[in-house]
Point group: C2
Chain length 191, copies 2
Amino acid sequence: MVQNPARRTALTDAAIDVLAREGARGLTFRAVDVQAGVPAGTASNYFANRDDLLHQTARHIHHRLTPDPAVIAELLRAPRDRALVTALMHDLLGRITAERAGYLALLELRLEATRRPDLRAELTGTIREQLEANIAYHVGEGLPGDRETVVVLYLAMTGLLVEHLTLPEVLGVDGLAALVGTMVERIVPSA
Amino acid sequence: MVQNPARRTALTDAAIDVLAREGARGLTFRAVDVQAGVPAGTASNYFANRDDLLHQTARHIHHRLTPDPAVIAELLRAPRDRALVTALMHDLLGRITAERAGYLALLELRLEATRRPDLRAELTGTIREQLEANIAYHVGEGLPGDRETVVVLYLAMTGLLVEHLTLPEVLGVDGLAALVGTMVERIVPSA
């Protein structure tokens, strides 16, 4: 395996774009090479096989979707109230909208995971870990609500993101920020 | 176009299974013929082209996911309280779990809709119509909550279904019914 980290990142970035545009079935070494603009055969030097490509792409998506610690630290200078939860959800919505290809690629990988037990185990581990980290964070930072609050909010945000990124006119783009506010208001207790 | 309704249904049923198993890219006339166990060339007599196949399959999925009016009528003999909303959500969860292939096929079509404006328009129309019908129904039947209650509950159920059908171990299968109860309790007002 070749170990040029910048090129590896360029290849997994390309894999995300291919997944979002062509679906899981379109993700081949050849398509990744073309998308990354590198010589044919390059991807096969970086990934042992197609499973390895799927796994590394899944990890790279999670890396790209991770919040910026500086932004979160800045947000957390505010009082621990419902408005802060709304601000955190707006940050999440903004990040995912900016990383549209990454989130669509993750949905493709979720569907591919129904056919590949190894990928399913990998994605399950990552997403469960993130959810548990979000719960620990929310409760630990003294944000309003309990474990169940975070789980229900996570599910509602997942539904909103799936709807917004696949069929944006169902919820409407104009009212989206207000809808996030409504969602927090209905799910998170006021204090 | 040939007009044998039973065979058309068998072909769109087969298309749902192919979509769920192979993804949108795997949905070809040939794959539908094989899945339905009919002679090669049959699907091409029932669908004008691949777009037509996608559209008819989308409509057939919505038909298969529609609740049984008799079951709903029976549920609606209960008082109009939060327990009734929970019962309706359990019916939805049970129906979608039984129609796993149909819901996975719908997720495939949502992703395919990001690449096909006509399919996106069709799915947007259907899903918006259903959401508006659910809102009118909930409010009209005097169930607790308002328009926003139904929208937030719809989003949370969407998130739960996507999670449960793609990565079932994230939420866990054992706790799923209780989670639906918690979700209703947190989103729907008590009266």
